[in-house]
Structure formats: C-alpha cells, structure tokens
Subunit: 233 residues, 2 copies
C-alpha cells in the first residue's frame, strides 16, 4: 500500500498522536529509525518525556533529544509564559485561521536539523507527522510546505548533489485524526504513551480544553477507538 523505503530514516517525534503514528509508518517501511525530539522552549515539556517513552517502547535504536534555542526568539503561546494557550478548537477549514499556538518557522527548523542528521547518518528519508486535515491551521503543516521542503532538500546537501537527496515523507498528510488513529492501531501503536495536550498538569494529565486536546478527543470518538487519555476536564 505504502511505498517501501529501504534503509535508515530520521523521524521527527514530538510525542503526540501524529508523530508517533509517523514513527510507526517509518518502522514498518525502513530498516532503522533515528528519532529526533526538540526541546525548543515549549511550556508543555512533558511531551519530551512522552517522546522518550515512545521511542523506548517502540524499539527505536537511537533517540536524540536536541535542546535548541527558539522559544526565547519568537512569539508564541506555546513558548511564552505570559501568553495563555487558547481553549477550544481553532481549526476552520478550508480557510483556517492561524492560532496563537503557531510557532514561527518551527517545522522549517525541525526539518533542517533532520536534514543535517539524515545526511550525516546516511539516512534516505525524513518522516514527519504533519497533517493538513484535522490540524490547527499552521502554515508549515500544509502539502505546499512539505513539497517546498522536499525541493529544498533536493539541492541543499552533498548527498543531493551526489544524486541521493533525502526524501521527505509525510504519511499522514491527507489523513484526518480518526484515520490516523485507525492506521496507528493497525500498526500496533499504543496511544496511551502519547501526549497531545499543550497545557498538561503536573502529573502530565491532559487539560481536555486546548486545541490539541479537542482534536485528539474528537479523533478517538470518530475512529471508534477507546481514548486512553486521562483528561482533567
């Protein structure tokens, strides 16, 4: 069904439903995965712990958690202590507004790092869990963005010049949240390991109110899959 990509892959793993499902695709389609997680100044740092748990449980050979300075240079509700994360779903397809949780150039920076590490480790592909169906309207989750980054990767590196550009894989690009969850369940993903919430409490319990929680909750409902998430509300 999906194209088999041999060799090694770098997988962007934030610890949520989408990146974990993308990791499951990568583990199925490639021989070895390197998972990348970023500490970029996000307030919901519990997702980094979730990512470590997921990488371990899913048998990822190498998991890199890279601390990068980003939160201190950009304006976003996900990084600024004095900007609240909005409650409620912000998706408004087909012309989504871009919510306060948007982090400028975040996926561009993440993919750029993934590109550096893919080239260094001779990995043929980068997997990202972006989706443009049930999403928050972030510009750097859309097909046009992924295509543009693919075109950039095709000229940016030594391996590209040598005829082996790194490929960008976005297996969830056209799946809604329910379809993503169903695909993940088929691939054996244990979603109780994942964390989507932007404002988890001290025990890493999901708030149940933020955009990310709303999308998650509705996804499980529509997929007819039991939601394992301990929501506070």
């Amino acid at each position: 069904m999906t194209e088999t990509c041999h060799g090694r892959a770098v997988v962007l793993l934030s610890g949520g439903i989408d990146s974990t499902t993308a990791l499951a695709f990568a583990l199925q389609e490639t021989e070895e995965c390197i998972a990348l997680t970023f500490r970029y100044g996000q307030k919901h740092i519990a997702e980094v712990e979730a990512a470590a748990r997921i990488a371990r449980e899913m048998g990822v050979k190498k998991h890199l958690t890279i601390p990068i300075p980003l939160g201190e240079y950009v304006a976003s509700a996900l990084t600024a202590r004095d900007v609240p994360v909005p409650a409620g779903e912000t998706t408004a397809s087909p012309t989504p507004s871009i919510p306060a949780t948007y982090v400028p150039a975040r996926n561009t920076i993440f993919l750029s790092y993934a590109l550096a590490i893919a080239e260094t480790t001779a990995s043929g592909s980068i997997y990202t869990g972006v989706s443009s169906v049930d999403y928050s309207g972030y510009p750097d989750c859309r097909p046009a963005f992924i295509r543009a980054f693919q075109n950039l990767a095709a000229v940016a590196t030594r391996c590209a010049v040598e005829g082996k550009p790194v490929k960008i894989k976005a297996p969830l690009q056209y799946l809604n949240k329910a379809e993503t969850i169903r695909a993940g369940v088929r691939l054996g993903v244990d979603y109780s390991l994942t964390l989507s919430c932007y404002e988890p409490d001290e025990d890493a319990r999901a708030c149940g109110r933020c955009d990310s929680c709303c999308l998650r909750r509705r996804g499980f409902e529509e997929a007819n899959v039991k939601d394992p998430t301990p929501y506070v509300f």
Copy 2:
C-alpha cells in the same frame, strides 16, 4: 542599481568578507538591520568575535549571537577536533568537489532561524552573503539552493500566508571575491574587521593556508585592494 527594500532586514553575519559585504548592502537598502551570528560548534570561534566587532562598528541596531547545537551532530572539518582543515584551495568550477569543510545543512538551519526571527520581528527580508563564483563548492551556496529556500519561505510562515512572505536576498550570488571586495569598499566596509580563516591562531591571525584564506588573499589581489589581513604564512 539594486532594488530598494524598505523596512527591516535580518542579516546572517559570520564575520567574513561575504557576510560583512552583505550586511553593507542591507544597511544601504533597508531602514534597520538585525544581525544574526551562530555559535554552531565551529573551531574558528574567533569569527564570532569578529562578527560582534563588525556589527558594532557598522552601527547595527541589534546583534543576536545564537548558540545552536550542530557540531556535535554532524561530520565536518570545521567542527570536529580530530578532522584537520585541509590546506589549499578546493574550488574547482564548474563541477566543484565538496570539501571536508562542508557542514551538513548549515545554511538551511541558519536561514530557518533567520526566517523565524524575521517573522517575529516583522522583517521583510533576509540577507545572506552566499556566492557561487569564488566559493568552496558548498551545495548550500548555489542559486538553486537560494531559489528553493525562497520558495519555501513563500509558504512556510504566517506572514507568507498573509501575503507578505520574507524575501531572501543574496546580493553577492553572482559576484566573484574581487567584485565583492570592490563593492564592499564602495559601501565603506573596513575589511580589517573581518576574519575569513578556518584555523586562526590564538591571536586571531589568519593561517594563510586554508581554502578560505586562499580565496580571501586572491580576492584582494584581483581587486587591487590592499589586503589588511595579518597572515601567519
């Protein structure tokens, strides 16, 4: 002669001839510049001090020096303590080989950060000093790379979605080193502030042997401009 770009610009400033000349262009063409310098694990850290000196002397309003983890994740003679910087010029147009000093995805990462900061500061453009004439054969200095990043910037951010994408300016793209130096002299650049060397000594004196020194020395010769560089050899 050059297009006037109003407003604010983010300028990638490494401290060498090219980025300093690009800064001079940006200062002429825009109202306000934010200079960005990266500590990415380069052994020739003296260039960061040069960048600070240049930003100060050239009246840059804001200069950010951002430490990013890169050297520890990639393989390059510019970052690995156990890999020597090769002596001699490595340029071999029109099919340049890519030397050991190539740093995987470096310009992609630098431009991605510049994009995040440009969006956050409402800057309309990013200036980079890349050139594809007298250069070291790095894939991420070529016109195809800059075009691809421009296309990425046109879809990656909120400001792009709102119809105001950040523009990528590479004023030296088609200039050789001598032409760059002549342009810089016309713009009032004091090249004694700059450092090109990949292996400066403890007093920040240029080795005179590395690829970057060779390109620099020949540039001043061909430009008929007195070379202010204190070379060791």
